[in-house]
């Protein structure tokens, strides 16, 4: 099971609809400071159910909506879609491909979708939580966080191992 594709639209610095396909193995993203690399990681964490805007470097949830640039208006909504390949049925849905989507429209509450069907955030977290792909587990290490496990208390380390067990 792997991530095949991500589409970002109006998410942070990705004002225009941007799509990229991931391959098996080792995908490496490079680019200058501030070009949008960590924003892609934020987009993935956001769509798989990150609740804390602080860990997305924002103050309010609408901070993820593209705020505009020189001669470019702000976006009215942010949308991120992830497409997973599920031939081995590791995800608990009887479908070769699974698309999860999150949309936040200004001044409206957010919406979540699995294969086009409206769902609650919990369902996405549960679906992906079963294979260990959560926004705050050990499968995603954010910029500047590589030392975080070292500094965990013995109780926090326990929680890490409970997830691994």
């Amino acid at each position: 099971m792997r991530l095949k594709n991500i589409i970002l639209k109006g998410f942070k610095s990705f004002s225009n609809k941007t799509s990229f396909d991931f391959t098996d193995g080792l995908n490496i993203i490079i680019g200058p400071n501030g070009s949008g690399k960590s924003n892609v990681v934020d987009a993935i964490r956001w769509v798989i159910g990150e609740k804390s805007i602080k860990t997305l470097r924002g103050h309010s949830m609408e901070d993820v909506i593209f705020k505009g640039a020189e001669n470019v208006n702000p976006a009215n909504f942010a949308e991120v879609t992830l497409l997973f390949s599920n031939k081995a049925r590791k995800l608990n849905i009887d479908s070769d491909e699974i698309e999860i989507k999150r949309v936040l429209v200004k001044d409206k509450s957010g919406k979540f979708y699995i294969n086009g069907k409206t769902v609650r955030m919990k369902e996405i977290q549960k679906l992906l939580g079963n294979i260990g792909f959560t926004s705050n587990g050990y499968s995603i290490i954010q910029q500047g966080e590589i030392e975080k496990f070292i500094n965990y208390s013995s109780g926090e380390k326990r929680i890490l191992f409970e997830e691994a067990a």
Partner: protein
């Protein structure tokens, strides 16, 4: 349930010994339960001794050493319970070239079964890519992606 936890910790400890030993070319590392009679609540302690050094506490380690120990820990957890996708954002930035190469060689082994998405600034790290993506901001404030695929690193 609690036994499953105890079992997992023992396994990850053994895997950690291996991943640590490979990334540091020696040394000893251990993950243990502070109170193995209380599986439901016990905390976990991690200690590591680098080759030739006598310091056991993780906190005194250098920035690059801590990053590598964390890498060893994550790979040990993957051996016990892999996730299908792993995302690293600039975890190699404190590493010197020698450590970075060992770290990416280990990633390469795991990348047969786990899909990695890694952000880096380091030219050496880029050499390990199966697929490379460049993100640019030719138009100020607006991100754009281009991808460059190599097939020769597989």
């Amino acid at each position: 349930m609690a036994e499953k936890f105890g079992e997992a910790v023992k396994n990850i400890n053994e895997y950690f010994s291996k991943t640590f030993g490979e990334l540091f070319e020696g040394g000893e590392a251990e993950i243990k339960m502070l109170d193995s009679h209380n599986l439901l609540e016990t905390g976990i302690d991690i200690s590591a001794k680098l080759p030739g050094k006598k310091v056991n506490s993780l906190n005194l380690l250098s920035g690059g050493e801590k990053a590598l120990v964390t890498g060893a820990l994550i790979f040990a957890i993957f051996l016990q319970n892999p996730t299908p996708v792993c995302i690293f954002d600039e975890v190699d930035s404190p590493m010197d070239e020698a450590n970075l190469v060992r770290f990416f060689r280990m990633i390469r082994k795991f990348s047969k079964d786990i899909q990695f998405i890694i952000i880096t600034h380091n030219k050496k790290s880029m050499e390990f890519a199966n697929t490379l993506y460049g993100i640019t901001m030719a138009k100020k404030g607006i991100s754009k992606v281009i991808s460059i695929e190599f097939e020769d690193n597989k």
